[in-house]
Structures are given as structure tokens and as C-alpha cells.
């Protein structure tokens, strides 16, 4: 098709292509670019309406980073997030790996149906559940504790993890386990020795997915936790650096950027796998 086009038209198409890409890319990444600039700007430069906000009118400063790490609980929130994330990932794997395998290989006809049912619980959003859940947490005596998050968060990681893992297990040829069983392993032994080792990439996907969901979670943490030092990063930063008395924009933006970047980078390598889960197999990947 392109063969018949005049060179002029081709250049026009190129300009349209890159122009629209640039508009979309700027729209998507502008808040993060703005975080980056603000992080290293001196206050005097930041709070002067006469200055061009997009360039450094004074020398860059590390003051906001120093403030963020020394005078706020930011580091503590990062550690809380990592700790809760790790525990939730472990619980998610412990529940989802056997469940996914069972649904694919041992469930027969009801396996697939139950799998879809479990996937649909992913739609029962925390926003419907957070009010009764606050009572559940109180009754368990976990109010204002990180353990409340560890107990509750798997409720949104497990259903999607099972769904993703079902996709991976389905792709494994059944002959593999049958061969292992002929060699003397029980069905469970074959699952442990054969299926899990070759599903590493699927399990890694679930690890990344669950961890990023934990980092993003907002409403449960806001509801259950009241002590500043018990927050996770995505609630601690907006709660204590925005709605406090002083708006420290430099420190705030530094915090947002630092907490976002690792997630952004890691997630990018796995995004296609999550999408194939979202599309319910309507698209063969």
C-alpha cells in the first residue's frame, strides 16, 4: 500500500505519527516529569510565579530529598509497604498455586466454572467491602496494625492470581506429569517436582502483580490504620504530606517519584501477561 504513495504524503504521515505520539506521551508522563523537576528545585525558585516553572532558574538542590528521608516517616512507609507486600505475596502464592492447579487439572468440568466464579470476585471492589471489613478487622483485634493489611489484602490478590495461574497451568502438557507419575511420583509429588519448577515465569508474574496491587492499595489502609508510623507509602504520602499543615511540595513530589519509579519499571516487563489475563482468553496471546 505504501509503495504507491508519494514521498510528500509519507513525510506528512510520519509527522502526524510522531506528533500524536508526542502528545499522548506528554499527557501521560507530564505529572511525573513535573515531580522530577519539583524534587530538585529550590523553594525560592518553586514559589515564584514570575519564573518559568519548567526550567531551573536557580541551582538544583538536594534539600527536599534530605527533608523527605530525615524529617518524615517516608522511609518507614517504604519499609512497611515492602514488609506487607512480601507477606501478602507469600500468602497469595500459598493459596493460589494449589488452587489454580486443582482447577485446571483436577477440577474436571466444574473447574473452569469455579475459576471464572473466582475471577469475578475480583470485581467485588474493596469500595463495597471496606465498611463491613472495618468491623471484621476490629473483631480480629487488628485495628491500626499492619497485620490487618496482611490479612485483608489477599482478598484482592488471590482471585486474579488464581486466574493468571490457571492460564499458565493450562499451557503445560499433561504428559509431563503423567511421565513423572509413571516414574513413581504421586500426583501431588508430580505437581511439586514437575509443575512448579516449569511454572516459574507464571509464578513470577503473580509475584509482581500482587506486589504492585499492594503498593497501589489505598482505601483499606486509610480505613484500618490511624497511626502515622503504620501507613504504607501510597496512603502515608498523601495523608501526612498533603493534608498536613505545611505543603512541602518538593518533599512530596520526591516521595511520589521515588515510590512510583521501581513499580513502573518492573511492571513494564510484565504488562502483556496481565493483559492476557484481563482479556479472559478472548485474545490468544
Amino acid at each position: 500500500m505504501t509503495k504507491h504513495k508519494k514521498p510528500g504524503k509519507k513525510i506528512g504521515l510520519q509527522i502526524a505519527h510522531w506528533g500524536s505520539l508526542a502528545v499522548f506521551a506528554v499527557f501521560a508522563s507530564l505529572p511525573f516529569l513535573w515531580m522530577l523537576i519539583t524534587t530538585f528545585k529550590q523553594d525560592a525558585d518553586l514559589y515564584n510565579r514570575a519564573n518559568n516553572p519548567f526550567i531551573f532558574n536557580s541551582a538544583p538542590t538536594m534539600e527536599h530529598l534530605r527533608y523527605l528521608f530525615n524529617e518524615t516517616l517516608f522511609l518507614r512507609w517504604l519499609l512497611n509497604t515492602a514488609w506487607v507486600g512480601t507477606l501478602v505475596v507469600i500468602i497469595t502464592l500459598a493459596l493460589a498455586i494449589p488452587a489454580g492447579y486443582s482447577l485446571v487439572r483436577l477440577g474436571g468440568r466444574w473447574g473452569e466454572k469455579l475459576g471464572i466464579g473466582i475471577f469475578l470476585t475480583y470485581l467485588v471492589a474493596p469500595t463495597i467491602l471496606f465498611i463491613p471489613m472495618s468491623r471484621v478487622v476490629a473483631n480480629l483485634g487488628l485495628q491500626d496494625s499492619l497485620w490487618s493489611l496482611v490479612v485483608v489484602f489477599p482478598s484482592f490478590t488471590v482471585p486474579f492470581a488464581i486466574w493468571l495461574l490457571m492460564g499458565f497451568f493450562k499451557a503445560i502438557p499433561p504428559d509431563l506429569e503423567e511421565a513423572a507419575m509413571i516414574d513413581g511420583y504421586s500426583r501431588f509429588g508430580a505437581f511439586i517436582r514437575m509443575v512448579i519448577p516449569i511454572s516459574t515465569s507464571g509464578i513470577l508474574t503473580v509475584v509482581i502483580f500482587s506486589f504492585t496491587l499492594v503498593v497501589q492499595e489505598y482505601i483499606y489502609t486509610l480505613t484500618f490504620v490511624t497511626t502515622a508510623s503504620n501507613y504504607t507509602v501510597s496512603v502515608g504520602v498523601p495523608t501526612f504530606l498533603v493534608h498536613g499543615d505545611v505543603y512541602n511540595w518538593g518533599g512530596l513530589m520526591a516521595g511520589c517519584l521515588i515510590a512510583s519509579l521501581p513499580v513502573v519499571i518492573v511492571y513494564n516487563f510484565f504488562v502483556d501477561r496481565f493483559i492476557s489475563g484481563y482479556t479472559l482468553g478472548a485474545v490468544k496471546g
Binding site: 499522548f24 506521551a25 477440577g107 482471585p159 507419575m181 489505598y218
Partner: protein, 314 residues
């Protein structure tokens, strides 16, 4: 049957005959492996969901130990409440408008990104950022960009001459501007996911169909509307359904940007439920408010089931 032979073989060869009842009997093993997950989901999704309904028909508060049933009282008083109606209206408005914009933009963006070009990985990573970064943190970036005094957006528009020298809108201070800002941030947030889902859909259209259409002389728009879009309908539906769920149930954008203000003009069901249920301690009314999202989620679930069933048959 496929399941019978390996089970028999396994049972014969297993080293420990006592364990083989659990580890080789496929029915027992299957149940044992699925049970923990199902019990957990019943306890922490099923039970709270039932309680959400129970609370909605009760007079429970945060302080009370026990509670009585009041029937439809909460729901009736909500329906008569002006602020509730506004929140319901806003939820529908924000979701519908942002989904329409997202669909159009995602379609365009997917058609651009489906081609291979140099630097695609970087561009895609940039475009994915709003979806991938923790939402509350990305939205704080918007809060700062829409600042009433130091907004760089206003600065840019003024210095490029699009705004007059005295025009400096307070994006989050005026009801109509705040509503537009919230919708814009919803679009910003949902566009990446919708785009990637549509890209997956575009990639799944067999090349030979497109080639055949080309041979038959179909132009670009004819191909777009008669082949690409119809073939992508199921996948676009998936994008829409997820978009509806994520937008209608979102509380973060509202809580971080406007807290429902100015004058409750951006309050949505979830933020209203949070302020009455948790902040003010009226669990019953809060639960009833949030429950108005349930019919929407149930409808989405039914659509998802249909899509899943259709692909299962295919």
C-alpha cells in the same frame, strides 16, 4: 477417561500407601488444594459482602456493639437526600464521560502503537506510567499541577498566549472546573489500560483477513469500520467493563484532588460512603451508599461471564 489411568498408576507406585489416599486420589487432592483459597475468599469476600447488605438494612454505628434492623429506612432516606442524589449523578457522569473519551483516545493510540517503530518500548513505557504508578501518588502530581497559585499548566497556557494575562483558572476551586479536572484525571488514569487491551485485540486480527480486504480494494476507513472495529468488539467490551469498574469504584482521585468539594460538587458514591461510614461513624448509611454500586458491578460480572462463555465455545 484421562483422569483415571494416571491415578491408578500413581496409586500403585506411590511409596507411602497412607498418604496416597490424599496425594493420589484426584478428587480428594483436588478438594484439598482448592479448599484453602475458597475458604479464604468466602471468609474475606463473601462474608463482608453479605454483611454489606445486612448493614444497609440496620442502624449500626462504629461505636455500637450490637444493632437493630430498620428495613429499608436507610435506603429510603438516602433516596430523598439531595447530596446522595448528587453523588449518584456524579458517579454516573464521571464514569460515562471518561469512558467515552477513553475509548476514542485508546482506539487512536492503539492504531498508532500497533506499528513497529524505533523507540516503541520507551514510548509505551511512558504511556503506561499513569496506570502502573501507585494511583494516589500520580494524582498528587496532578494536585500540584492544578495548584491554584503555581499551576504550570496555567503558566504554559498564559505564556503561549492561549490565556489572557489576567486569566488564571482555579481548577479545583470552581465546581465545573473541578468536575472537568476529575474527568481528565480519570481519562489519564484509564487510557493506558484500555490502550494495551485494544493493542492485544488489534494484534489478534488475522493478517490474511486484512490482506484479503486490501486485495478486494477496501480503503483504510472501510477496513477500520467494517473489519477492525467489528472484530475487536469483544475485546473493546472487556476494556469498557474494566474501565467502568475501575472508574465507578475509584475513591483515590476524589479524595486526593478535591475531597468531594467545592460544595460537594465532585462527591461520588464511594467518597460519600467513606465520609459518612468511616469519618462520621455511621456504618449503616455508609454501607447502604456504597451498595448502590452493586447492581453496576453485578451487570459487569454478567457481561464478563457471557464473554468468557463465548470464548470457551469458540
Amino acid at each position: 477417561m484421562e483422569t483415571a489411568t494416571p491415578a491408578v498408576k500413581g496409586a500403585l507406585r506411590s511409596r507411602n500407601p497412607h498418604l496416597s489416599f490424599f496425594f493420589d486420589n484426584e478428587k480428594v487432592l483436588g478438594l484439598l488444594m482448592i479448599a484453602p483459597a475458597v475458604l479464604y475468599i468466602l471468609a474475606l469476600v463473601g462474608f463482608p459482602l453479605i454483611m454489606a447488605f445486612v448493614y444497609s438494612f440496620s442502624d449500626i454505628t462504629i461505636g455500637s456493639a450490637d444493632f437493630g434492623f430498620v428495613g429499608l429506612e436507610n435506603i429510603e432516606s438516602l433516596i430523598g437526600d439531595f447530596e446522595f442524589k448528587l453523588a449518584l449523578k456524579n458517579t454516573i457522569l464521571f464514569t460515562a464521560v471518561s469512558m467515552i473519551i477513553v475509548l476514542v483516545l485508546a482506539k487512536i493510540l492503539a492504531l498508532i502503537l500497533v506499528k513497529d517503530f524505533r523507540g516503541k518500548f520507551i514510548v509505551r513505557a511512558l504511556i503506561l506510567m499513569p496506570y502502573v504508578a501507585p494511583i494516589s501518588l500520580g494524582v498528587i502530581g496532578w494536585l500540584w499541577m492544578l495548584d491554584s497559585i503555581y499551576s504550570p499548566i496555567n503558566w504554559l497556557l498564559q505564556h503561549t498566549g492561549l490565556f489572557g494575562p489576567d486569566f488564571w483558572p482555579m481548577w479545583l476551586g470552581k465546581p465545573n472546573l473541578a468536575i472537568s479536572a476529575i474527568i481528565a484525571v480519570h481519562v489519564w488514569r484509564m487510557l493506558p489500560l484500555a490502550t494495551v487491551i485494544m493493542l492485544a485485540g488489534l494484534a489478534s486480527i488475522p493478517q490474511d483477513i486484512q490482506d484479503a480486504a486490501l486485495v478486494d480494494g477496501a480503503g483504510y476507513f472501510r477496513q477500520l469500520f467494517q473489519i477492525t472495529i467489528p472484530m475487536m468488539l469483544p475485546i473493546m467490551l472487556v476494556a469498557v467493563l474494566f474501565g467502568i469498574v475501575f472508574t465507578a469504584t475509584d475513591i483515590i482521585i476524589i479524595l486526593v484532588l478535591t475531597r468531594g468539594g467545592p460544595y460537594n460538587s465532585t462527591q461520588v458514591l464511594v467518597s460519600k460512603a467513606f465520609y459518612t461510614g468511616i469519618d462520621a461513624g455511621d456504618l449503616a448509611t455508609g454501607a447502604a451508599t456504597a451498595l448502590f454500586l452493586f447492581p453496576l458491578l453485578a451487570a459487569v460480572a454478567i457481561f464478563m461471564l457471557r464473554i468468557a462463555r463465548r470464548t470457551e465455545v469458540a
